[in-house]
């Protein structure tokens, strides 16, 4: 399914003609063509092949095939229960896969942990835990520090830098339950920054945050992308998708569509993603109308 979409959307005939004619293609088009093409699947920052995840007997994700383009900001969009969070968790081996293969830069996840940063949903942890904002950000560096070793001053400074980058340098010492929801989300983001990963997987970092936090987070996500990192973000607000993300992955148990936002985030694809049943009914009505000839509906 993925390949149909990438072929149809990645190389529209007009583009190819333009190149053949020797005219200088606009740079944006060239980048888009490269990024969506399946020429280098092995080097993709994240490559998911035939992944299926099931809880008990019920499949949550079915035959997911997806290559994330390097240096892109990807929005993962789909209705509730579409398997968006599960996709991130399965990719990170936090939930077991029924089948399929996941590669980060051509290697399985356990070899590439250091390259992958994860921002879970805010509700996933106990905010009354006796730690400060700085402690939480430092945890992003534990993998780097290594077993048995204490946290050194250099790591502390790196964590403070990350906090400053999200605008929370003044609140480093504060216990985390005394932060607002938006500040807590920024602490999570700072922790991911402190990890210095090349691929980021973020689960609804913009869920119920204030406008200032949303702007700060989006600005940082763009910075990360501009530094050549790949950022995949589960996002729930359809209105802001075209503004925030240059690629989208439309998900509803299966991958419905993926590619550059401008071409993929269409009414047609959204209907397929969100209104599966509606589409079926529409198709049925269409077929009935054709077969019945003159019979009025």
């Amino acid at each position: 399914m993925r390949r149909w979409f990438s072929h149809t959307s990645a190389a529209p005939p007009g583009c190819v003609e333009g190149t053949a004619a020797g005219g200088r293609r606009p740079r944006a088009v060239a980048t888009v063509g490269l990024a969506t093409g399946a020429e280098h699947p092995r080097e993709a920052p994240l490559s998911i092949h035939d992944m299926t995840v099931a809880y008990q007997q019920r499949p949550v994700l079915w035959d997911v095939d997806y290559d994330a383009p390097e240096g892109s900001l990807v929005g993962i969009v789909g209705p509730n229960g579409a398997g968006k969070s599960t996709l991130l968790k399965a990719v990170l081996d936090l939930v077991p896969k029924a089948s399929g293969r996941v590669m980060f830069y051509g290697q399985p996840y356990r070899r590439q942990r250091a390259l992958v940063g994860y921002v879970p949903q805010r509700e996933s942890i106990d905010w009354d835990f006796p730690v400060s904002a700085l402690d939480v950000v430092l945890m992003g560096r534990y993998g780097r520090i290594g077993w048995f070793r204490p946290v050194t001053r250099a790591h502390r400074l790196a964590a403070l830098d990350a906090l400053a980058r999200v605008g929370l340098a003044d609140l480093a010492r504060r216990q985390i339950s005394q932060l607002s929801g938006g500040q807590q989300q920024r602490v999570f983001l700072a922790r991911a920054l402190a990890q210095e990963a090349r691929v980021y997987l973020m689960d609804e970092p913009l869920a119920s945050v204030d406008a200032t936090t949303e702007r700060t987070i989006i600005a940082i996500l763009r910075e990360l992308r501009d530094e050549g990192r790949t950022v995949l973000v589960v996002h729930h607000d359809l209105q802001t998708v075209p503004e925030y993300f240059d690629h989208v992955l439309l998900l509803n148990t299966r991958v419905v569509a993926h590619g550059p936002t401008a071409r993929t985030f269409t009414a047609e694809n959204l209907r397929k993603t969100y209104g599966g049943r509606l589409t079926l009914l529409e198709e049925a009505a269409h077929a009935l109308a054709q077969r019945g000839g003159g019979a009025p509906a």
Binding site: L92, R113, F129, P130, V131, M139, R191
Partner: protein, 448 residues
């Protein structure tokens, strides 16, 4: 009374306290992570579930030596955690119930094993439950030429193991407890850390059982960490405080066991030490719950009272200012007026007026309280906030004119200079409120 205690205190009492403190500190150290994981009762479950491990260790080795017992306990302890987790996941049973299923079954299995195969062993249920800490100093062994109570040696060794594990793996335990998913993505297997913790809990409870009894073990796993949690919001500090509370409970409990029976007319009887230590820990928890700086009942109460006093002071200032503004004489009894207009009790009103005098905001003159110049400035700012809010509510929110006063009265107490400035700017710096009363200008030059 303390003289009595000093007279009856012997070397044996010191040894009892040291043994109990070693056990209590070892339990409390691990208990921090259980309490923070919201799995406090895992210690209770493990302390029961290890029984078949002890029986099996005895059957295999034919001895009651500590080492095989501790190894058997550690294996069954981890099995308890693994089985509970498995039942919880596979059977859709909540974690507490899953733990209950496992530990009840294992405990019963252990009883059968002991009855069937090792009936002659003296594992006395009473002894396990209540412990026999008063007798612990009697069993002694030579270590490096020094004769020490056996319990102190075993508990000391276990405490060393626990302390080494927590010190070496501090950040790994911290992240696995706080955010298991993040730990796992960083290459620190949270599940394995959890099983390590349960193994440590198992050997610690078994080691402490014999000497201090399971009641004290369960109390020390939960109560000191829970009390410390109320006193701080840093994990490191919490752990240290929990250890101090555990050691204090051991000391206080034994001293209490020596003294309290005397009060009740049982002079000379002192077989309550373990229970008294648990009660003592409970008492320290109650103190922490009352006096804790952030979560404590008293500090919350104090915070509310301070807020109420601040509001009463501001109400008193405004009252005097409004009377001045209306050209009325200062009231003979401002306290009575505060009560009539704001429902402030006589004591609170009196306190508020005294505090205003101490701050130099009001001063008695000709037998009446009057505003000082600085009091007048402060009151003017409050009234400014009040009337700006009335204007705002009228203009922006269409609040009826006769309903403006109440909300403005609440808002005036929480409006700082910055907000006043923004309100004024938003409203175009009005000179009058909706009722036509003048809005005082900010920062009068007559301020001191």
């Amino acid at each position: 009374m303390s003289g009595l205690l000093a007279l009856s205190w012997q070397r044996m009492d010191t040894e009892i306290v040291v043994i109990a403190a070693l056990g209590a500190v070892a339990c409390a150290l691990l208990g921090n992570f259980l309490v923070l994981r919201r799995m406090s009762l895992l210690g209770d479950a493990i302390s029961h579930a290890v029984l078949p491990g002890l029986a099996a260790a005895f059957l295999l080795t034919g001895s009651r030596d500590s080492l095989p017992m501790l190894i058997g306990a550690a294996i069954v302890g981890v099995a308890t955690a693994v089985l509970s987790e498995w039942i919880h996941r596979a059977g859709k049973v909540d974690p507490g119930a899953a733990m209950g299923i496992v530990f009840a079954t294992l405990f019963a299995l252990g009883l059968i094993l002991i009855r069937r195969a090792a009936d002659h062993v003296d594992i006395d249920p009473d002894c396990v439950l209540y412990g026999a800490i008063e007798l612990a100093p009697l069993y002694r062994e030579q270590v490096l030429g020094v004769e020490l109570p056996r319990a102190a040696i075993v508990l000391g060794a276990v405490l060393l193991i626990d302390a080494a594990a927590v010190l070496l793996l501090y950040k790994e335990l911290k992240i696995s407890t706080f955010d298991p998913a993040l730990a796992t993505t960083q290459g620190i297997p949270a599940a394995a850390m959890h099983y390590l913790l349960t193994a440590l809990v198992a050997i610690t409870t078994v080691a402490a059982f014999e000497s201090v009894g399971s009641i004290l073990v369960i109390a020390m796993l939960i109560v000191p960490p829970a009390a410390a949690y109320l006193l701080t919001d840093r994990l490191g500090v919490m752990i240290v405080l929990s250890l101090v509370i555990a050691a204090l409970s051991a000391l206080g409990g034994h001293a209490g066991a020596l003294v309290v029976p005397g009060w009740l007319g049982f002079a000379g009887v002192s077989t309550y030490s373990a229970s008294m230590m648990a009660v003592c820990a409970g008492g320290l928890f109650a103190l922490a719950a009352l006096l804790g700086p952030r979560h404590g009942v008293l500090s919350k109460l104090a915070g509310r009272l301070a807020l109420a006093r601040g509001i009463a002071r501001e109400d008193a200032l405004l009252l005097l200012y409004r009377l001045e503004e209306a050209g009325a004489a200062p009231p003979a009894s401002p306290a009575a007026m505060l009560r009539a207009r704001h429902g402030i009790g006589p004591l609170a009103a009196h306190l508020a007026l005294v505090q205003l005098r101490m701050r130099g905001l009001v001063r008695p003159g000709e037998g009446r309280l009057r505003l000082t110049p600085s009091g007048r400035t402060a009151a003017a700012e409050l009234l400014r906030a009040h009337r700006l809010w009335e204007t705002y509510l009228d203009q922006h929110l269409d609040v009826p004119r006769d309903h403006l006063h109440r909300p403005a009265e609440r808002l005036e107490h929480v409006t700082d200079a910055g907000l006043r400035g923004r309100l004024a700017a938003d409203l175009g710096h009005p000179a009058q409120d909706p009722q036509g009363k003048p809005i005082p200008v900010s920062g009068r030059p007559d301020a001191p």
